[in-house]
């Protein structure tokens, strides 16, 4: 019996040398005459341990990490093939690693465990059970399940998914579409990428269920061009799912059709906004559309369209297979289920943390994250992407839930948590928020297109000490104008990080250049 060894094939693991580690393991096994079966699994999302090598033993999988190519020979000497704990890199049984054990992985139950492209693995770990359930239900019954689960859009807007689906189901049309927003542009987020690279059939299953629910026969995944590996893996998954009858003209002999295609974006952040994304899919400039009409009624090519984030669609198979209440049992208040948090930036133990709503930021950053990577004191954290506020320590004990965060002018967004230590210049961060908006604005509305450019200029004057009081007042006005007058969240939310710096870190904005 060959010993089964797992080495992830996932962007972060590869960026840290996973391919070289895999090559060394194979070479070392050959040199020692050991029989080894190498599996390229997905990542467990414990990026601080990547490349994380696992060995299958009679007592389960044993983890080693972070493994550098130069560590491989030593690991073999220390009994890697027997799952020995002799090496200092040994983390014990993978499932007992506290970071993993303390999570509530519903959506990410399979990542890192399976070979992402193996249909057998997917089925062996409860895959396609949601789709089977859906095939036995009426469209209305599927929509009702999603409504009962309390699932809200995980892209950031938190709109109830079931209501959106109902609108599309009720819209009469000869053609409807399911569009998956995989334009994961927020800094600090990688959960969509993990789904597509490490458990692609999950998204395929979720989209097929959505198609059955609303009567859509065509789906598109709009994927950002910055994710070449996700593109490669997901396209291969579509081909295999089609060949096995999970996609195509006759899903599992039901006579019902759902086709799926990936379309690549082209480096425009604004295309994460749903109407801009639809324009881009139609082959146009990604200019934001006025709403109404809602995309649910007049979306892609003018047809009723469900536009959902990867994580919303990826939550659906669990809801169908285990039941809406099983999902709704997690969470707090009106935020039901789990949230995929992504610990990023200056963090000691970065990675994916899936938890029920209600955890505090402090628990997340300290218990899971272990503080900063630099070892310096934590100073600010940006939750929810570049359009959300920077939070000072006084706000780290708020429970993570949509309503609680909204009350203090913060956002949960797509769950990205970007940590900064005390060397950060928050004035610089405020400037960057405006600069980013100036680069990425679609240009359709004036507050965003011009406001962002003026915002950079005003912040530069404040930082240069030029007429500071008057320019601070001007910046306050400008932020209000952008919030109230912009067409979409790009211009409408860019002021949030700026205003949070003005409110919580005013000294940074006004510090003289010589003191920076």
């Amino acid at each position: 019996m060959p010993v089964r060894i797992y080495v992830p094939r996932e962007t972060t693991a590869l960026a840290l040398g996973a391919d070289e580690v895999a090559e060394r393991i194979e070479a070392e096994a050959v040199a020692r005459g050991a029989e080894v079966e190498l599996v390229r699994n997905g990542s467990r999302g414990l990026f601080w341990l990547e490349p994380l090598v696992e060995v299958e033993t009679d007592a389960g999988r044993v983890a080693y990490g972070p493994v550098e190519p130069g560590d491989v020979a030593g690991l073999f000497d220390a009994g890697l093939l027997e799952g020995s704990a002799m090496s200092t890199l040994c983390r014990g049984p993978t499932e007992s690693i506290p970071y993993l054990q303390a999570q509530q992985r519903l959506t990410f139950a399979r990542i890192g465990i399976t070979d992402p492209l193996s249909l057998d693995d997917y089925r062996a770990h409860d895959g396609f059970r949601g789709l089977e359930q859906a095939l036995a239900l009426s469209p209305q019954a599927i929509v009702d399940e999603v409504k009962t689960s309390g699932l809200r859009g995980r892209g950031g807007a938190a709109f109830p998914t079931g209501i959106k689906w109902q609108t599309v189901l009720d819209a009469p049309a000869d053609q409807k579409y399911i569009v998956c927003n995989a334009d994961e542009g927020d800094s600090g987020t990688f959960a969509d990428r993990l789904v597509m690279e490490c458990d692609p059939y999950l998204l395929i299953e979720g989209m097929a269920i959505a198609g059955l629910a609303v009567g859509a026969t065509q789906g598109y995944v709009y994927l950002r061009s910055e994710y070449p590996l996700a593109h490669e893996i997901f396209n291969e998954a579509i081909a295999r799912a089609e060949a096995a009858g999970y996609l195509g003209a006759d899903i599992r002999g039901s006579g019902r059709r759902f086709d799926l295609e990936v379309r690549l974006g082209a480096g425009a952040y604004i295309c994460g906004e749903e109407t801009s994304l639809l324009e881009s899919l139609e082959g146009k400039r990604g200019m934001v559309r006025f709403k109404p009409p809602l995309p649910a009624l007049e979306g892609l090519f003018g047809k009723p369209t469900v536009v959902n984030n990867v994580l919303s669609l990826a939550a659906v198979p669990f809801i169908l297979s285990r039941g809406a209440t099983a999902y709704a049992d997690y969470g707090m208040g009106r935020s039901r289920g789990t949230l995929a948090l992504q610990l990023a930036g200056n963090v000691k133990r970065g990675g994916l943390v899936e938890l029920a709503f209600g955890t505090t930021l402090r628990q997340l950053m300290e218990d899971f994250g272990g503080g900063t990577a630099s070892g310096r004191p934590l100073r600010a954290v940006q939750v929810g992407g570049p359009l959300c506020a920077y939070l000072p320590e006084s706000q780290w004990d708020l429970p993570l839930d949509y309503e609680t965060f909204a009350e203090v002018g913060a956002g949960v967004g797509h769950g990205g948590v970007v940590m900064f230590d005390d060397t950060v210049d928050m004035g610089e961060q405020a400037r960057f928020a405006m600069e980013f908006c100036a680069v990425e604005s679609c240009g359709k509305c004036t507050p965003c297109r011009i406001g962002a450019v003026r915002g950079v200029e005003v912040i530069d004057r404040i930082r240069a000490g030029d007429n500071r009081e008057a320019n601070l007042a001007l910046l306050g006005d400008l932020c209000e104008t952008m919030v109230d007058g912009s067409l979409c969240a790009m211009g409408g939310m860019t002021p949030f990080p700026v205003q949070s710096v003005m409110k919580h870190f005013p000294d940074d904005l006004q510090r003289d250049a010589t003191q920076r």
Binding site: A15, S187, E226, A266, L281, G283, F436, C442
Partner: protein, 165 residues
């Protein structure tokens, strides 16, 4: 251009890519991707050919190309290096890395070194946010890029393998 991994483009290649995709709904972006993947850029001369095939005006095609950061109308160097400028990488020192890269290569963003080896581009997030600063070179992503690691990368990219026959 001896260093380019791409062959000099010709109108037939462009036409081939267009013909393969023009019947798809919303075909313009897939066509532009196909042309750029094959030729390294979308040649200005391709614009009227695309416009004709898709029944669009040249202005519309140009408008789409210029809207998206990914598309370029001039050939890049042999390698494209993108440095992440977004917040998670800023928190790990990407601003210093950006300055180091510009100084080392002697070019700014959107420029190519004189030997046509490296084109430098900014990028806003590569999704490697727990292990920044991040950088993408062609289709490979690198994590925790220090100035020293950047120097080694440049050495590796600019070292020519000479074939001895």
């Amino acid at each position: 251009m001896p260093n380019s991994p791409f062959l000099p483009w010709n109108p037939q290649q462009v036409q081939d890519e267009i013909d393969a995709l023009k019947h798809e709904p919303g075909a313009l972006l897939p066509i532009l991707h196909a042309i750029q993947d094959r030729c390294g850029h979308v040649p200005r001369e391709a614009v009227p050919i695309i416009a004709e095939a898709l029944q669009l005006t040249r202005a519309e095609v140009h408008g789409v190309i210029s809207f998206y950061h990914h598309f370029r109308t001039t050939p890049p160097g042999r390698h494209v290096v993108q440095i992440c400028r977004a917040e998670a990488c800023q928190a790990r020192g990407s601003r210093a890395l950006e300055n180091h890269a510009r100084e080392t290569l002697g070019i700014d963003y959107h420029q190519t070194t004189a030997d046509r080896e490296i084109t430098l581009e900014p990028v806003y997030c590569l999704g490697n946010c727990a292990c920044g600063p991040s950088l993408r070179v062609d289709d490979r992503i690198l994590a925790r890029v220090t100035p020293e690691k950047f120097n080694r990368l440049v050495d590796e990219l600019t070292t020519q393998v000479l074939e001895v026959s």
